[in-house]
Symmetry: C2
DNA sequence: GCAAATTTTGACCGATTGGACAAACGTTAG
DNA sequence: CTAACGTTTGTCCAATCGGTCAAAATTTGC
């Protein structure tokens, strides 16, 4: 599909730029970020950066394309034939781990959605909707089979997204509220325990 | 505290500007918004706008100060002496209503936090933390009294924030995924039913 | 009706923006 | 060594940015 990247240097430098751009875009948004900022973060001059990516939008687009694949991977893994509560538990855990390990990616995505998703709207209405509808059907099947409590699968997925991504997107607020004691590295384990109780206990099938 | 706003015109025009700025800031963020955009949205020239607010930051600051009061009002109303589950239910309902009725305010706040809360950090560590700690203590009291199930009050509050504000901040994604049928005006009632089941059923005291 | 105060505007400023370009520099294959 | 190719940089550009200012237009107090 893509023309092959020729030299080893191009591979490395493009990677370096994308890493720097992730940092800058995720904290300032697209319009709020400048090529100069990204170039400086990547340790190169602006014209040099523009040698690898012709336009600012190209960097953002490349970053977004890569992000979307890995971002939806956890939901894709939600398996029809697994044990329902185990599947949901590990989905929640995986999503929370992504919020912990890839907060910049989460914020990049949040920024894009907040601004009305101008660049990824087709993907939301296409690929994402298809995937969610498919997994909602799986969850509905579990409910019909009496394996988990009946509820709205779509809003269940939204809630899992919201609660887990909250720890990346609103990290500064979470840390400010928890304070230096409770807001340290342990906050993700506390969150994991809480979310498991909230969702898994709540989804225990009613006899 | 403030010097009194003199004329009727100043009152009206300042209000007009703040309304326009809310629209612009909430979708583009602070750095991504321009004075020209706000002026155009307010139907006046840039120098005219700058006659009412000397700097771009002044607009944002005024907007943010107003927001914070009303934004925390629902949590303030959480009453120690009320019935615990009723109190929490109406807190969730109120927060969801705010996401429905004031999505721009929610996005303005989200934008600020996403960018590291550079302008409201003291408020987060001060006023907000105090309020949350206070209400967390109230909730803990309910748990000790056996009125609701035991869990982490801070993360419970985070989850309520995350799930309700999600319907404002990620509105375009929610609507894209739900599609034209389920994504209409009824989505907030569906969300309300789901969240009540998730939180209130989940907090039912264990005998 | 008129003077004083307030409001609005057009023109302008220096700084920053995204991006172009050719020249200089480095690397590598023969 | 050298020619071809890949990389880097300094300089420059038009557009846009936040903000100023004096003059013009309007409103207000008497």
């Amino acid at each position: 599909m893509d023309a092959p990247r020729r030299t080893r240097i191009q591979q490395e430098k493009r990677e370096l730029i994308l890493e720097a751009a992730l940092e800058v875009f995720s904290t300032n948004g697209f319009r709020g970020s400048t090529i100069d900022q990204i170039a400086e973060a990547a340790g190169m001059s602006k014209p040099n950066l523009l040698y690898y990516f012709r336009r600012k939008e190209d960097i953002h687009e490349t970053l977004m394309q890569r992000l979307l694949d890995t971002w939806l991977a956890p939901l894709r893994e939600l398996d029809d034939i697994g044990d329902p509560l185990t599947e949901l538990r590990s989905y929640i855990r995986r999503k929370l781990e992504m919020a912990r390990d890839f907060p910049r990616e989460s914020r990049l995505f949040a920024n894009e959605i907040l601004q009305g998703a101008p660049r990824i709207m087709p993907m939301l209405e296409g690929e994402l909707k298809t995937l969610v509808d498919e997994k909602a059907a799986v969850i509905k099947g579990w409910m019909r089979a009496g394996k988990i409590a009946r509820t709205d699968p779509w809003h269940l997925i939204f809630s899992i997204w919201a609660t887990t991504q909250h720890y990346a997107d609103f990290d500064v607020q979470v840390r400010a509220v928890l304070g230096p004691d409770r807001g340290g590295d342990g906050r993700f384990e506390d969150a994991a325990r809480f979310l498991e109780q909230l969702f898994i206990d709540g989804l225990q099938p009613k006899t």
